[in-house]
Assembly symmetry: C2
Homo-oligomer: 265 residues x 2
C-alpha cells in the first residue's frame, strides 16, 4: 500500500462535443499535479459519423445496441479521433498523456454482455478483476498520464464498447488498492444542487449519514440518486473521495472548492 495519491477524472460527452470547452477543461486537467488518469466518454461525434455512413442507431430502453458496424464507428471515434486529439492537446499543455483502450497493454478486459431478453451486441461488461493494475502502475510510475477511451477487449481479439462511467469507477476501485484514490466526475452542473435550477445551491459535502437524510427529505433530485448510490458504493469499497462538479471549474479542485465532495463521514 502506497500513500501516493491518484486522481481519476471522468469527462462526459457534453464537454467533448464543444471543442472550446474541451480545450479549457484539458488545460485545467493538465495543471493538476501528481498522478492522474483521464476517462472520456463519447459525445455526439460517433452518432453523427454513424448517421453520415447511413447506419441506423439501434436503441432499446435508451441503451445503444452495438452491432459490428457501430463497434467500428465507436472504435474509430472514441479510441482514434477523440483520444488522439485529447492526447495531442494535453501534450501541448505539458501533460505527458498516453491514450489507452482496454486492449492496450491489456489494461481493461471485459466480457461481451450475456444475451438475456436483449442482445446488446458488442457491449462489454467489466468484471471485478478486469483492471490490470500492474500495467497501469507502470505507466503512472513512469510519469505518464493514462487517457482511457471507453473501448475494452475480451482478451480473445474482440473489442467491446463499454460505458465510460463504469470504466472510471472500475479503475478507481481497482487502483485504490495501490493509491489513495479520488474519483472526480465532471459534468455541466456545479455539483449536487439543493435546487436544480440554482447553480449556487451546491451541497459542499455529503457523507453516508447526510446522504440518507437528504434522500428522505427529498432534497436531492431523483436523477442524481443512482449516480450518488454508485459513488457511495465506490467509497465503501476503498475509494477515498468522490467529487461531482462542473468541468470548467476543475481549477478550483486544488483549492478544495470543487463541486460536491462525497466521503464516508
Amino acid at each position: 500500500m502506497s500513500n501516493s495519491t491518484l486522481h481519476i477524472i471522468k469527462i462526459g460527452g457534453n464537454v467533448i462535443d464543444d471543442s472550446d470547452q474541451l480545450m479549457i477543461f484539458l488545460e485545467k486537467f493538465a495543471a493538476i499535479p501528481g498522478k492522474k488518469i483521464l476517462v472520456h466518454g463519447g459525445g455526439k461525434i460517433a452518432t453523427r459519423l454513424a448517421s453520415d455512413l447511413g447506419l441506423e442507431a439501434k436503441m432499446v430502453d435508451g441503451r445503444r445496441i452495438t452491432d459490428e458496424k457501430m463497434l467500428d464507428v465507436v472504435t474509430m471515434v472514441y479510441a482514434g479521433l477523440t483520444s488522439k486529439n485529447i492526447v495531442a492537446t494535453l501534450q501541448k499543455y505539458g501533460c505527458d498523456a498516453l491514450g489507452l483502450s482496454g486492449a492496450d497493454a491489456n489494461v481493461i478486459k471485459a466480457i461481451k454482455r450475456p444475451v438475456k431478453d436483449i442482445d446488446y451486441g458488442f457491449a462489454g461488461d467489466i468484471l471485478a478483476d478486469s483492471v490490470n493494475t500492474l500495467s497501469i502502475k507502470k505507466f503512472l510510475d513512469a510519469g505518464f498520464t493514462p487517457v482511457f477511451s471507453a473501448i475494452t477487449h475480451n482478451g480473445n481479439g474482440q473489442l467491446l464498447n463499454t460505458n465510460a462511467d463504469t470504466i472510471a469507477s472500475s479503475l478507481a476501485l481497482a487502483l485504490s488498492e495501490l493509491y489513495e484514490t479520488s474519483l472526480i466526475y465532471c459534468f455541466e452542473k456545479n455539483g449536487v444542487l439543493t435546487d436544480i435550477s440554482d447553480e449556487d445551491s451546491v451541497i459542499e459535502s455529503i457523507n453516508v449519514e447526510s446522504f440518507e437524510k437528504l434522500k428522505s427529505q427529498g432534497v436531492i433530485s431523483e436523477g442524481m440518486i443512482p449516480k450518488l448510490d454508485n459513488a457511495f458504493n465506490a467509497i465503501s469499497k476503498g475509494v477515498k473521495n468522490v467529487y461531482i462538479g462542473n468541468a470548467l471549474n476543475l481549477h478550483l479542485f486544488q483549492q478544495g472548492k470543487f463541486g460536491t465532495c462525497l466521503a464516508i463521514k
Copy 2:
C-alpha cells in the same frame, strides 16, 4: 549502449487490407521473442471511409493531400480502428501490445510539411531528433510491444499524417543508439528478386559492395532501388541490418531464412 537486440517490423497496406493474412502475420509477429516494435501502414480502409463520407481524395504526383477532414479520417482509421484491432489480436496471441500514435507519450514529433510548390496539408515530416527514445525505452523495458500507427503530432496540439516507412526508419535510426536494431520491411514479395516474376529468385544477402554491382548490372528492378537506398542509408547510420521479405514468411526470420538481408558487409 546496451547489447539488447530490438526488431522493428513494418507491415504495409496489402496485408492490413486482408484480415485473414493479417491474422496469420500477427500470430507470427507475436511469436518473435525479445524486444520488438510493429509499425503499420494504412491500407484501403481510410480511402473507403473517405469515399463513403463523400470526401474527394486529393492527390498530387501520387501523394495524398491531407486536408482537415482527411486528417480526421486517417486518425480514426489508422490510430483507432486498425491500431486497436491489431493490438487486441496481438493480446490474444500473448503479445503485450501497446498502440501508439506519435502524440501518445510524445513518442514522435513531426513538423507540418512546409508549403513550397504544393501544400500537402496536415502531412508530417519527421526531424532528426523527433523520436523520444527515452519514452519508448520505458515501454520496451517494461515488457510492452509498441505498435505505431502513422499519425504524429507537432507538440502544439496538431495531429499530422505521416508516412509509415519513414516512421519505421526514423525509429530504427534513433533506437539503434540504445539497442542492436534490425529493421524488417514486410511486403507481398519474398525479398529482393533477380527476376521480378520469380518468387524463388530471392537474393539472400546484399552488402554495400554487392549493391553497387547489382545496380550497375541492372539486376535489381528500378522500383526497388529507392527502397534499398533508404535501407543502406539506415545501415550507414547505425541500424545493424535491414531485412526485406514476405509478411507471411515472418516465422522464417528466427531461422535466418527470411527474405533479403542487407548489411554493411
